[in-house]
Symmetry: C2
Subunit: 145 residues, 2 copies
DNA sequence: CCATTTTGTTATCAAATGATAAGTAATGGA
DNA sequence: TCCATTACTTATCATTTGATAACAAAATGG
């Protein structure tokens, strides 16, 4: 197996993934939410509990900028902060009820488009896809550099 | 096969892909090239010949903004424009020698990091990865919505 | 030949994002 | 107790990106 060849396939693949995710999410237009703010909400939703520092690390933005965007989201009542009882410097960020609601709506609409995308897939296809995702996750995308 | 389940896996997967591509490309720091400009150069490199309109469509940016960024890249001698002999409104954009050079360097550095990523993969693993990429490409990421 | 459409450009403004300095409060270790 | 570190905030500025209007040149189609 030629690694160079695999690299080229990998590049084309990631480009396609970016393209498709863009198409799946582009019609998600929560009123006046910027892309970065959406990313933050998404990250909070899929994680259980997160601190500003974790958001900052995972979304590759500075802590001051993270803090700024979090405050905007807090002002709009999409998130709330709870300080850790043990280490009071730490703040756990989570979605409010409003935040949960808009994110569920967003995910529902993305899911709709995803289902459209795979509407012609047979049960066998779905198994193949599931398996392929597992393989890639395990052998490429969930390793640390 | 539960489609809801598959959707959740899909969401986690795409997030991981974005994460990894970010890590692979973050150390590619061509001097004073903005992310959008890099995207444009990348798109020109992987495509054979492109017009501003195609770039605009594929990278989801307006034609005026595309034109602006192309001009900046042209000023810096990374790209050049050739007008179509048949339809003189059309301009084909391609990399200059300088542009080719910086993009090759960029891709080499990304490839290095990619090879690091899969350094512990056996030959069997590589085959599996190759196959998984094919499956996903065919059954999910290269369909039109 | 004339109206319309396509392709691209320039200019301008607003908004989003990034970078950095400075500060607070809590923690932890010498 | 004191100092360094960690977690986070506020403020400010520069840059990047997005949106829109107005224009020009070439093509297309009656």
């Amino acid at each position: 197996m030629d690694k160079k060849e695999l690299f080229n396939q990998f590049v084309a693949f990631t480009a396609a993934v970016h393209q498709v995710t863009h198409e799946l999410t582009q019609n998600v237009k929560i009123d006046n939410i910027t892309p970065v703010q959406y990313k933050i909400l998404e990250y909070i939703k899929v994680s259980q509990s997160v601190t500003p520092t974790e958001i900052s690390d995972c979304l590759h933005m500075s802590l001051p900028n993270t803090s700024r965007e979090l405050r905007k989201l807090q002002d709009r009542k999409f998130i709330k902060k709870i300080s850790d009882t043990e280490d009071r410097r730490k703040h756990y960020v989570c979605l409010t009820e409003d935040g949960e609601k808009i994110m569920e709506e967003a995910f529902d609409s993305i899911e709709d488009r995803f289902l459209q995308l795979i509407q012609h897939a047979s049960n066998n296809d779905l198994e193949d896809i599931h398996h392929a995702l597992n393989i890639l996750d395990e052998k490429v995308f969930n390793l640390k550099l």
